[in-house]
């Protein structure tokens, strides 16, 4: 049997399938960066135009204000759990009064932004993908294009900006609640002394740590906004397609947060060492 162009020999079929998957993956990856560049390109226009502020404020309310309670709760529990986990070891070693410093630095620089990012990816990213995905499958995005509106500017940029600008503020809330939560467990459950708790926290946790946490969360917020909007814009296949897009959006955002966290930690450590030298908790 002769195999003409377009037909694949059965033995080569798995290789062809793999090739197809890689090509599709690369195409989607490239498309994501084009989409991201366009979204970012429209940001100054959106920020500079009072007509656009209404759109952005609506998103800021949905993404920021409505996410605040759940993120504060997340932060509080993270702080509390860290004290529960660390108390035994620290008190046995005689360093119980330093526990607050360790916990709060972890919360400010690492766990606060990462867990806030993950919560945002679940709560906000999923909702954005579902909303835009539904708009796509019901032809609303096509309708915008036919009316001369640029869908990326009109839909993606306000959502991206709201995620980018509000994620650090939400992370700050989560950090604050983490600090309060850890202190409550430390002082009222384990009976630790509050004065050294706050003293070592103040002397150990630097503005640098808080700043690093907020910078990270800005990257996480931007990534969540871009990934979830891109997924929404490329949703196909009705209700099932919207559901699958939401799942994919969360998974990819989650992986992006962890990957960005690694890269930003490496950069941050390098910059800190260059500016201030090594640091020690003890």
């Amino acid at each position: 049997m002769a195999y003409t162009a377009g037909r694949v020999h059965p033995i080569l079929a798995p290789i062809a399938a793999l090739g197809g998957s890689v090509t599709r993956g690369l195409s989607t990856f490239g498309d994501f960066w084009v989409f991201s560049a366009q979204t970012a390109m429209y940001s100054p226009l959106e920020l500079g135009s009072p007509r656009s502020w209404r759109r952005m404020l609506q998103q800021a309310y949905a993404i920021g204000t409505r996410s605040a309670p759940v993120l504060m709760l997340t932060g509080a529990f993270v702080g509390m759990v860290l004290v529960v986990q660390g108390w035994e070891q620290f008190s046995t070693a005689g360093f119980a009064d330093r526990l607050g410093a360790v916990v709060n630095m972890s919360v400010a620089a690492e766990l606060g932004p990462v867990l806030a990012g993950v919560m945002l990816a679940g709560r906000v990213g999923g909702a954005l993908t579902a909303e835009l995905g539904t708009m796509n499958v019901t032809e609303q995005i096509l309708a915008l294009r036919t009316m001369g509106a640029e869908p990326i500017r009109f839909l993606a940029t306000p959502r991206f900006l709201a995620c980018l600008l509000l994620a650090p503020i939400l992370t700050l809330y989560a950090d604050l609640m983490g600090t309060i939560g850890s202190w409550i467990i430390y002082a009222f459950v384990y009976g630790g002394d509050s004065e050294p708790y706050w003293f070592f926290t103040r002397t150990t946790v630097e503005m640098w740590d808080v700043g690093v946490g907020m910078t990270k969360s800005m990257f996480f917020g931007g990534a969540i906004g871009l990934i979830s909007c891109h997924m929404g814009f490329h949703t196909t296949g009705g209700a099932q397609g919207v559901g699958e897009a939401c799942t994919r959006s969360f998974v990819i955002s989650f992986i992006a947060i962890l990957a960005l966290d690694l890269v930003l930690n490496l950069v941050n450590n390098g910059v800190y060492k260059m500016l201030f030298g090594n640091r020690s908790l003890f």
């Binding site: 539904t134 609303q140 096509l142 309708a143 294009r145 640029e150």
Partner: protein
């Protein structure tokens, strides 16, 4: 149809249908498809469509589901690009234009989508005002004028007073009417209105009401109408001319009477709703 719909004074245009009707200078076809091919992966949808769409007439495109009727419609406003062939709009080639260059053409064309594509996050009034608000000329006219036009358009489709309702509160027929109102609410009014399956999902009475409305809009605005449908009753009622698409090509072109009495087996079967022998189970 209620009184408001029967009232024939369309106050929307200031470049009016009457002016358009009197304008004999542009007597040629407003839209031309020249050997248009389009495939999605291995599926060939359009296999060399060549057709001219005459000005100020309602042209209906009929054909079985999946024969590329909606795909053809989307080529007119550059929502899709052909793999080969040319699409022309009023003497200008469309398929080579960039998204930005398409904007002036899109401002002359209205699209009534199959699923209506009303924006869920906006009220009925905001939906109808949207195309005008996107147009610099509409913006210059001011909020008051836009609100007047919204009321006039809603009155024309028999939904006076529906401005503050949300699309979710409307029935299928009402949503379709709002979509029609949005299609004509342009300043200047549209030269071409594209209707994608305007009666799909509606009961016979509501379908009849939509057909009458389409016919009346054409009579009043003298806009060119292109209606994609597989509803033969609708095609006969609204069409001045009918094109039939089959297996990616135009296989019939004539007046409603000519199509209804066609001796071509493919056309006859479609008109009479008979299954193709090769598609009959068993």
């Amino acid at each position: 149809m209620n009184d408001a719909t029967r009232n024939s004074s369309l106050a929307v245009p200031d470049v009016t249908g009457a002016e358009r009707a009197a304008d004999g200078a542009n007597a040629g076809p407003i839209i031309q498809f020249k050997d248009v091919h389009k495939a999605f992966g291995p599926k060939v949808v359009l296999a060399g469509v060549t057709a001219d769409i005459q000005r100020r007439k309602n042209t209906v495109i009929i054909g079985k589901s999946g024969t590329g009727k909606s795909v053809l419609l989307k080529h007119i406003v550059g929502l899709l690009q052909p793999d080969a062939g040319e699409v022309w709009f009023d003497g200008q080639r469309v398929d080579t234009l960039s998204e930005r260059s398409l904007t002036p053409i899109r401002r002359r064309v209205s699209f009534v989508f199959q699923l209506n594509a009303l924006f869920d996050s906006m009220s009925v009034g905001e939906n109808i005002a949207f195309p005008m608000a996107q147009n610099p000329r509409g913006r210059r006219a001011g909020r008051k004028r836009i609100n007047e036009m919204v009321s006039e358009c809603l009155g024309l489709v028999g939904l006076a007073g529906y401005e503050s309702k949300n699309p979710a509160e409307l029935s299928g027929g009402e949503k379709k009417r709002v979509a029609l109102a949005r299609a004509i609410a342009m300043d200047p009014p549209p030269d071409v209105i594209l209707y994608d399956e305007p009666t799909t999902g509606l009961d016979p009475q509501r379908s009849d009401s939509i057909n009458k409305l389409i016919r009346r809009l054409q009579d009043t605005t003298h806009a060119t109408g292109i209606i994609v449908t597989h509803d033969m009753r609708s095609a006969a009622e609204v069409g001045d001319r009918i094109l039939m698409l089959n297996e990616g090509r135009i296989v019939a072109d004539g007046t409603p009477d000519e199509i209804m009495n066609s001796s071509d087996d493919r056309v006859r079967r479609f008109v009479q709703g008979e299954a193709d022998p090769d598609e009959t189970p068993g």
